[in-house]
């Protein structure tokens, strides 16, 4: 009994991976599987108040440690799906990420207390800028709590648009730098 419960928990955990609201018209249809969708920027956006906000948890509370499935490399189970890795796995300094629920919360039920008209920042869908064709693109986002680049840029959970072509090179920031400021250098 206990084993069966654990198995179904593991299975449910995988929902978090690459699937989203099956009703989303913005999702990517899966050939031959009616109603099934893959993740997309729109599904990603639906889980965030604005681009940069921590995603809400799209599966029910499972009673297991989050990092059991959302570990450094993610977890694949044949025939079920993929639980995306945690981008915080390499995070040090301020981010003791052992308390996942400090930032990521479940939606225990639908509905609103009062409607809200907040229109959050959308994800920047463009590729990172390159100085010239062939130059390494700069990162269009910051790196705090996204130190584990491969969480989003490698493995089954990576969207094809941002998938790294050279995952064997371990030190991404050697060539790709973050662009947080919009100012241009000028001598003081």
């Amino acid at each position: 009994m206990r084993t069966r419960a654990a198995l179904s928990l593991a299975a449910l955990a995988l929902v978090a991976a690459c699937t989203g609201e099956s009703s989303s018209s913005d999702g990517v249809a899966v050939p031959g599987r009616a109603g099934a969708v893959k993740s997309s920027a729109s599904v990603r956006a639906a889980r965030r108040l604005y681009d940069g906000a921590p995603p809400t948890i799209p599966h029910p509370p499972l009673g297991a440690a989050c990092t059991q499935c959302h570990n450094a490399r993610g977890m694949h189970v044949e025939g079920l799906g993929f639980s995306p890795p945690s981008p915080h796995e390499e995070t040090r300094g301020m981010s003791a990420f052992s308390r996942c629920n400090q930032c990521h919360v479940h939606a225990l039920e639908g509905g609103e207390f009062v409607a809200n008209g907040f229109a959050g920042l959308a994800q920047d869908l463009r590729r990172g800028e390159r100085l010239y064709d062939g130059a390494p693109p700069v990162m269009p986002h910051g790196t705090l709590m996204r130190e584990n680049c491969s969480a989003c840029h490698d493995g089954p959970a990576a969207r094809e648009e941002v998938r790294c072509t050279h995952p064997a090179r371990a030190r991404c920031v050697q060539c790709h730098v973050s662009q947080l400021e919009t100012t241009v250098f000028s001598r003081p």
Binding site: T19, K38, L49, G52, H59, R159, Q179
Partner: protein, 792 residues
């Protein structure tokens, strides 16, 4: 989870892993953006061109720095400010969801006046301000300054609080000004004042990383101060010798990370702390030379009958007890502590003798740095000032104070409880920078800075918060103006404060959303919120943080300080606010002049604008991380290690107080056999009027509940999800039961959060108060829990 949910989840899973991709719609959007980079400044997707401005978070007293992105006159995102020394880029779930609090669909947009049929009618600002001015004028003429009051907030900016203070004490000539912070940190104020004759902690957040032992006294930091708790966890990860001790009456998410969990019976922390002091003395662990150089001994009134609880007999109408400090000495201290043997303390508290001895070893170990942290558990306590005294005693007698990593540190729950309430002095007995209305020199200094005639400020302290609402109920107050707070959810024993608008009293409420408090108001004013106006907050670690106005408020909403200034002008008190044009900087600089040269020195407005906040005292532009500490505090002479220079009345020494154990005001009995403790949850902030309007936070924590111990639940025949009825001597309500949820109360006690305005748990709580601070105790009263027939 239902079987249906599970099936649908598996169907979704059936989509398989494979690669995930842009949808066609995404692809089209991306292509359009790539093709037209010039169009990026407007519309979504332009994160690269955004302006990010600094501001402190609007929620708790931690004071995290956020950077705020605006676009088209609206806030579109925040991110943790990596330049902020407070949070170094991290936020909690409330902080990340902060921008949506501005955009709830029911924002108050216009002044509204209650009509005789109870409906609200939109009126102009001019009408509203004239009406307030005339009501206050009439009350002053008919019944004098005793009949007018303002109830403020630890969410007030420094401007709001300073304007209110100057108008009420210097204009209305009344001391009936008190804030909601009376309900949350007044005991810490009276604690620090009684020991150092100056409010606020000596340490700073850096202590979190420098301490070897972090002791939480009744503080669930994992939920209430998550970012500071992350700093503790990170310190422990980097240095595994760090220990976390959780001393509590209930297992919380913080307990999961504790090396030692100490569970005591409600209210018995007084005995526990005295038990630790007893062992420190007995085991020769006192830092005797430190004490001889830096401390004095004091004791006050200890008679239970004389002190009472502020809620029984005559005290239930008016509670004005005042302590009478007397000199004491080490011999008396030693004799006093003889009572608190480990065996006796164990009997009172339920803590094992071994754990008491362990705590004494920990505080007595001079090689390890100790940080004590506390918040509502200690402050909302019928002997909260005493408990503050006892925790600080542990640090004074061991010399573990005013040194990096060694400090007693009180946490705060509101963003400017320190900055606005404690420093500006928006309390019924206080003036800026540690001054009090009862001291003629202090009044004279305020009158001089304010250019007011001698004798303007009254010398008698006004109503403290609970007393203010009791006086309002009695009909003694003709006018009451409430800003930035929601007392009809947050006051204890709420049944006492029922009224009908139009009953002859005039109640004004300034807020941003409709609440149970605006429901009571005769006049509702729409306020600007957070970055809709310029502001200054002061956080728990003495950090003063400034921000600029970034977006316009909706409708006709205006900042609270403006509302007060405009009413003052209409009452012929314009001389209080003489500045032309933008008065923010000159008002701050006038306030700042109170703080200079007295050890409370704030940084200049100009400097605050360009920094991520500064820890006062700021002398020669330099902040002070450790007060009273040689090598850190510019007020301490070179060569001295510690100097409690503010305690002039104690010979510039800190006071060790002899404070006994007293039982709580109400204890469980046969009729009401359980303890009721109320408090907070991670997702909602205080009365929930802001956070419940954010979908993500609401859906994560949609409504209140009651946490039961498994043994109590099974004795009642109740399981998680069932409805139970809670009854106290004050009221009753039905709630959903939770067993083994995120918090686990011990057998014989239950816990209920107070954020839910449809489940007003404060109708059941007792309005017992701390004798000195007059802060109510929301943590201890007796309750009966009954099973409700399910499906009925």
């Amino acid at each position: 989870m239902s079987a249906l949910d599970r099936r649908s989840l598996f169907r979704i899973l059936g989509a398989g892993a494979g690669c995930v991709a842009f949808s066609e719609a995404d692809r089209a959007r991306a292509a359009a953006l790539e093709a037209a980079p010039s169009a990026l400044a407007s519309g979504p997707g332009s994160s690269r061109a955004l302006q990010w401005d600094k501001a402190p978070c609007r929620f708790c007293g931690t004071g995290c720095g956020v950077e705020v992105a605006t676009e088209g006159g609206k806030v579109v995102a925040v991110r943790g400010d990596e330049k902020s020394p407070v949070n170094k880029g991290l936020l909690c779930v409330k902080g990340y969801h902060l921008p949506a609090i501005l955009y709830g669909a029911d924002r108050l947009l216009y002044p509204q006046l209650r009509q005789s049929d109870g409906s609200l009618k939109r009126i102009s600002w001019d009408e509203a301000l004239e009406l307030i001015a005339s009501k206050y004028r009439e009350a002053l003429e008919a019944r004098g300054p005793e009949s007018v009051a303002v109830y403020g907030s630890g969410q007030w900016t420094v401007f709001d609080g300073y304007a209110a203070l100057k108008w009420v004490k210097g204009g209305l000539r009344s001391n009936h000004l008190d804030p909601n912070a009376r309900l949350c940190m007044a005991s810490a104020v009276t604690g620090f004042l009684s020991q150092f004759q100056s409010d606020e902690p000596m340490g700073c957040y850096e202590d979190l990383e420098l301490a070897d032992d972090v002791v939480l006294w009744g503080a669930n930091m994992a939920e209430m101060h998550p970012v500071l708790f992350s700093r503790i966890l990170e310190s422990k990860r980097a240095r595994p010798t760090v220990r976390i001790v959780d001393i509590a009456t209930r297992r919380t998410p913080s307990s999961e990370y504790a090396d030692l969990y100490v569970e005591f019976r409600p209210g018995s922390d007084l005995a526990l702390a005295n038990g630790i002091l007893h062992l420190l003395v007995k085991n020769g662990k006192l830092a005797q030379s430190f004490i001889d150089r830096n401390c004095v001994y004091k004791r006050g009134i200890e008679d239970l009958e004389a002190i009472g609880y502020g809620c029984y007999g005559e005290q239930a109408e008016r509670y004005t007890f005042a302590d009478e400090p007397k000199d004491s000495n080490f011999e008396e201290f030693q004799r006093f502590l003889e009572d608190y043997t480990p065996q006796k303390v164990s009997e009172i508290s339920g803590v094992s003798v071994a754990q008491i001895e362990l705590l004494a070893t920990l505080y007595g170990d001079s090689k390890r740095k100790t940080l004590s942290l506390w918040c509502m558990g200690v402050n909302q306590h019928t002997r909260g000032t005493w408990m503050n005294n006892l925790i600080t005693n542990l640090h004074l007698v061991t010399g573990k104070i005013a040194r990096p990593g060694n400090n007693p540190f009180s946490l705060t729950g509101q963003p400017s409880a320190c900055g606005t309430v404690r420093e500006v002095g928006t309390l019924s007995n206080r003036l800026p920078a540690d001054m009090v209305v009862t001291n003629p020199e202090h009044r004279a200094k305020a009158e001089k800075i304010w250019r007011l005639p001698e004798g303007t400020i009254p010398s008698k302290p006004g109503h403290h918060a609970v007393d203010m609402f009791r006086a309002f109920q009695r009909g003694e107050l003709a006018c009451l103006w409430i800003q930035t707070t929601n007392p009809w959810v947050s006051l204890p024993n709420l049944h006492r404060y029922q009224r009908k608008p139009g009953d002859g009293k005039f109640l004004i409420v300034s807020d941003v959303y409709p609440t149970p408090t605006t429901d009571q108001a005769d006049l509702i004013l729409p306020s600007a919120l957070w970055v809709e106006r310029e502001g200054v907050f002061g956080n728990s670690e003495r950090r003063t943080q400034q921000w600029n106005k970034l977006v316009d408020p909706p409708g006709e909403a205006r900042e609270d300080a403006w509302q007060i200034v405009e009413v003052a002008k209409r009452m012929g008190m314009g001389h209080l606010f003489p500045w032309e044009g933008d008065w923010h900087e000159p008002m701050f600089e006038e306030y700042r002049s109170f703080t200079l040269g007295v050890g409370k020195d704030l940084g200049s407005y100009e400097q605050l604008k360009s920094t991520r906040g500064l820890l006062w005292p700021v002398v020669d532009g330099k902040e002070t991380r450790y007060r009273y500490a040689g090598g850190h505090d510019p007020y301490v002479a070179k060569g001295r290690d510690v100097h409690f220079y503010k305690a002039k009345g104690y010979g510039e020494r800190a006071a060790i107080w002899l404070r006994p154990y007293h039982p709580p005001a109400e204890v469980p009995d046969a009729e009401y056999p359980l303890w009721l403790c109320t408090g907070r949850v991670l997702e909602h902030w205080h009365t929930g009027s802001l956070t419940r309007r954010v979908r993500q936070l609401h859906q994560a924590m949609p409504r209140s509940y009651v946490e039961l111990n498994r043994a109590d639940a099974s004795a009642l025949g109740v399981k998680s999800g069932d409805t139970v009825r809670l009854k106290t001597r004050r009221g009753a309500m039905e709630l959903e039961a939770r067993v083994d949820g995120r918090g686990q109360p011990p057998r014989g006690s239950v816990f209920v959060p107070f954020f839910d305005e449809s489940k007003l748990i404060n109708e059941l709580t007792l309005d017992a108060m701390d004798s000195i601070s007059k802060e109510p105790d929301y943590k201890k009263c007796a309750v009966r829990v009954e099973r409700v027939e399910q499906g009925a």
